[in-house]
Each structure stands twice: as C-alpha cells, then as structure tokens.
C-alpha cells in the first residue's frame, strides 16, 4: 500500500510542527492540545490518530512506555471481550437484559453511518458491535443509547486510516489483517470510553446532561441574538426540539464526515475539563449562523429546515470559522457572564 504520509515530497508546516512535538521522548501534552485544537494535518493520518490517542489517555506520552502501555491496554480489552462479549454471543441473544442490549445494537449497526462504505463491511460491523456492547455493559447507568453507535465511528475511521496508513476515504477493509483490526478495536474502545466519560449524563435516565446543554444554549441565544430568540418563541419552536440531536450526537449528523473529524480534533484538544461546555457555544454559533434565514420562516419551515440543514458542501474552513467564533463567544461569557445580558 502507498504510504499516505510519505506521498507528499514535503511535509506541510503544520505536519512538521506535529512531528517535531510527537517525536520528543516525552510529549508535552499541553503543547499538543494547543496544536490539535487548530486541526490535525489532513494528509497525515498517523499524526491525527497519535494525537487523539495520546490526549485521550490511550497512548502514553513517554515514548519508551508506548509499546508496553499499548500492550497492556490491548490485553485489558481482550479480557473485557472474553468476559463480557463471548458468553452472550455464544448463546444467541435471549430475553435477558444483556441479550436485549445486544439485540438493539445489532438492529442499529446496519443503520450506522450508511453513507460510509466501510460500515457496510461485515468485519467492521462486528468490531463496532463488540465495542458498543462492551461499553454498554461497563456503563450500566446509561447502557446502550441510540446515537452512541454514531459516536464510535470517527474513532474507528481515524484509527483504521492510521493503521493502514491511508486517507480515510481510501480505507480498504480487506487489506487489514485481523491483528490490525484488533488493534483498531481496542484503541477505538478506549478512546470512545474516555471521550464519552465527559458526557455520560447525556445518556442516563431523563438525559439530564442534554437538558442542561439545551438550557444553556437557549440562554446564550437569548443574550446574543434576541431577535432570533423571540422569533423562535413566537413560532412556538422549542429549543429541545431544535437542538436535541446536536447534543445527543455531537453534531455528527449535521456535517459531512470529514468535517466531523475536524470538529472532533478541537473537542479532543479542549482542556482537561472536557469539551462539553465548549460544544454548547459551537451549537449557539451554528444556530445563529442561519439566523437571517430562520427569522423569515414559520414553524413548519423552521422544523423542516433545521432537521436537514444545507451543510452538505461544508468543508473544514466553515468548521474552523465556527470554532473560532465559538471560542470568542465562550471567552466573552466566561470573563463576564452578565456582560451581554440585556436585562
């Protein structure tokens, strides 16, 4: 296979910065965060995968410890697989709770990212099934909730592209050995687990995390685009209706897949307290982006427009503008929470 990282005669300036950082004996995580916040180099799939895995605590930042660290995590995952997945898989899923979870996951796997051919591949579907099932058993407070299947897909794609050293859109699943897929599976499992730990209360009973985010979104929009806020109120459009999916699937369903990956560079690079508070500002900017159109629409037009926003042609550039504006907005709110309050 053609090596994606060596195809270019010269690395981009951005890729060079990453390489310089990642090749140090001990990687400076704060510096890596800062760099990844502005996006990983698209032409260099290994860099993105390494950065994600390191910031999500899967890949040790000390080079010498990387082989043993990864080995240990992979064995741990193997053990989870033996303990949780094998027994249930062996007896065809029955009426008990675990069986019901596995059945639901199996119903959703064929409905996961149907736009991406690799998720139609049986080996990938099985890998995804195990990741989701084991995650669900290990997180009984939420269990499997529809939409979490979506959230696993960026990790699978980014890690697989890195293992095969090709661009995400060039992944050929048949070219992957079993060992490669096992490595991807373990990595994707641990990354997903860490990533979701920030938003676990999105998926527990009553979905309090989502309710809070929606309330926060409403507050932000009220403060910075009162006209839009009033219009939505007038039309009887509820913020929960409008943004539930944005919160539940972290905008994954709203953008073309490459844009989602770019967005998640930044989410993964957000400081230690997690990306969830920043996400609300991204949603606010995203909503207000459409404000001129939205203000002309009645309830029904709003509903139809919002559930299928015209982002099909969006590229990283649009995402980066969104992120930059969200960053400014967040800083404003945090430095003086009442500064923008019209009351």
């Amino acid at each position: 296979m053609q090596s994606a990282s060596s195809t270019g005669t010269q690395r981009s300036a951005k890729a060079q910065k990453f390489h310089r950082l990642l090749s140090l004996p001990t990687v400076d995580l704060a510096a890596l965060r800062e760099l990844l916040w502005s996006g990983a180099p698209e032409e260099d799939p290994k860099v993105r995968a390494q950065s994600w895995q390191m910031l999500l605590g899967y890949l040790p930042p000390v080079q010498d410890r990387q082989p043993s660290g990864l080995q240990k995590k992979r064995e741990e995952y193997e053990e989870l697989r033996r303990r949780h997945y094998l027994p249930v898989e062996a007896e065809a899923p029955s009426g008990d709770v675990d069986g019901a979870i596995l059945r639901q996951i199996r119903l959703d796997i064929p409905r996961t990212s149907p736009g991406l051919p690799i998720f139609g591949h049986q080996r990938i579907q099985q890998l995804l099934e195990r990741i989701l099932f084991i995650w669900s058993l290990r997180h009984p407070a939420s269990g499997y909730v529809q939409g979490i299947n979506d959230l696993a897909t960026p990790f699978v794609v980014v890690l697989l592209a890195s293992e095969l050293d090709c661009l995400p859109e060039e992944i050929n699943v048949d070219a992957a050995s079993d060992d490669t897929l096992d490595a991807v599976e373990a990595g994707a499992y641990w990354c997903l687990t860490k990533f979701l730990s920030d938003i676990q209360d999105h998926y527990t009973s009553g979905q309090p995390g989502i309710q809070q985010m929606v309330a926060k979104l409403r507050e932000i929009v009220h403060r910075i685009d009162q006209k839009l806020y009033d219009h939505l109120e007038e039309q009887g459009l509820d913020f929960l209706q409008l943004s539930f999916r944005w919160m539940n699937c972290l905008l994954l369903r709203e953008f073309p897949f490459p844009c989602v990956i770019r967005l998640w560079d930044t989410y993964i690079a957000e400081p230690l307290e997690g990306f969830s508070s920043f996400h609300v500002y991204v949603c606010a900017v995203f909503l207000i982006y459409w404000s001129p159109q939205l203000k002309q629409m009645d309830y029904q037009q709003l509903m139809l427009f919002m559930q299928k926003l015209p982002t099909g042609k969006w590229r990283n550039q649009e995402i980066e503008t969104l992120l930059a504006e969200a960053f400014v907005l967040k800083s404003l709110f945090h430095s003086s929470p009442n500064h923008l309050n019209p009351r």
Binding site: D108, G147, Q207, D238
Partner: protein, 216 residues
C-alpha cells in the same frame, strides 16, 4: 382541534408515530411522504418532523403534521413531550417480533396520558412482506392484533413499508377518522354550521394495495 391557519389547508392535525425501536416507523413515514424508502437510513434521534396535505373528497384539505419519534426507552422523557396536542397516532409494531407487539399496551397508555384524551390511534402491524415470503416468521397473528385493537378502541391494519402495502391507507384512514370524529363532536356541540354533510371521505383511499405513486 381543526384549526384553520393558512389558506392552503382547512384542517391541521398533529399525528405522532410511536412504537418500539426498529419496527419501521421511519420507513413507513418516508414511504408515505416521499414515495420511497430512506436513502441512508439511520436510527431516529429524538423526533423528526414531516408534513403532508391531503385533499378531502368533498373539497378542502387536511394538513397532517407527522412526528416520527425515537423508539428507545431512554428517549421517552424527550419524545413524550411531543405527544401533547396530538390528535392522532400510528402505533407501530413488527409482526415478526412479538415483543414489539407486547409493548403496545405501554405505548397506548403513554399516548392516552400525554396526548389529547380522545386521540385516535391506528395500530399498524408492519413488515408484512417478510411473512409473505416466509410465513414461519410471523410472531403476531392478525386475529390477535385485531382482537387487541377492538378491545382498546383502536383502528388496525397490517402494512409494509418495503412493498408499500397499505402505507397510504394507514395514514389517510387515520386522518379521515380524526376528521370524522372531530366533526361528529362539532355537530354534537352544534357549533358547526348546519350544511355540513356527514360521512366525508378523504380522497383516493383504497384499503389495500396502494401502489404509492405519490408525486412529492
């Protein structure tokens, strides 16, 4: 109930699609609204919205606002808020999975609690195409569902989003039923004007084998 909002329709009905995850709600809706199955089907998250305006045989139109909901238990807190002011519901189960039929009792109770008290419910046994191919796949008998429907005052039909069998019928028969019941109530309250004729039918309804030649 039937509010006249704009010029292009006379009655506006809010209808919800409920039932366990993966019984085929989104496929039925897509088949009805677009005339085709979803191109890139994904599990419904929260609620999704669609509308269709249906002409009445006697003139005038009914606009249906249809809310497709996520079936998974966890989403109930979010989705049940959308039952409010619904005057009709399609309660869908999968005739090849008995569990989805058993859940109908629970769904019905929830609808009656959160929606309009006199909500009209259409019980739909979906995926009838599977059984036509292989009768041994059937887990819910027509008669059992029919009995259940009669007992609880629901309308009932089997359908298939894949073959379009009865798809148009289930939606439009429900709309007609809502129309009939609301006009009956209006007559009783004698608010309505006196030249209203009873037995108004929604246009172009045949009970079986609609080929779904929707041009929208």
């Amino acid at each position: 109930m039937a509010a006249v909002h704009e010029d292009d329709y006379d009655y506006l009905y809010k209808v919800v699609l409920v039932g366990d995850a993966t019984v085929g709600k989104t496929h039925l809706l897509s088949r009805y609204i677009k005339g085709s199955l979803p191109k890139n089907p994904t599990a419904t998250i929260g609620v999704e919205f669609a509308t269709r305006t249906v002409p009445l045989a006697v003139g005038g139109t009914v606009k249906a606002q249809i809310w497709d909901t996520a079936g998974q238990e966890r989403y109930r807190a979010i989705t049940s808020a959308h039952y409010r002011r619904a005057v009709g519901a399609l309660l869908v189960y999968d005739i090849t999975r008995e569990g989805t039929f058993k859940s109908c009792t629970k769904w019905m109770e929830e609808l009656r609690q959160s929606a309009e008290p006199d909500i009209v419910i259409m019980l739909v046994g979906n995926k009838v195409d599977l059984v036509e191919k292989d009768p041994s796949l059937r887990q819910v008998y027509f008669d059992a569902a029919h009995e259940f429907a009669k007992l609880h005052g629901l309308i009932f039909e089997e359908a298939s989003a894949v073959t379009s069998h009865n798809v148009k019928y289930i939606f439009e028969h429900l709309l007609q039923e809502i129309y009939d019941q609301t006009s009956k109530r209006r007559e009783q309250q004698s608010i309505d004007n006196s030249n209203m004729v009873g037995g108004i039918q929604v246009a172009a309804i045949g009970p079986k084998n609609d080929s779904c030649d929707n041009s929208c």
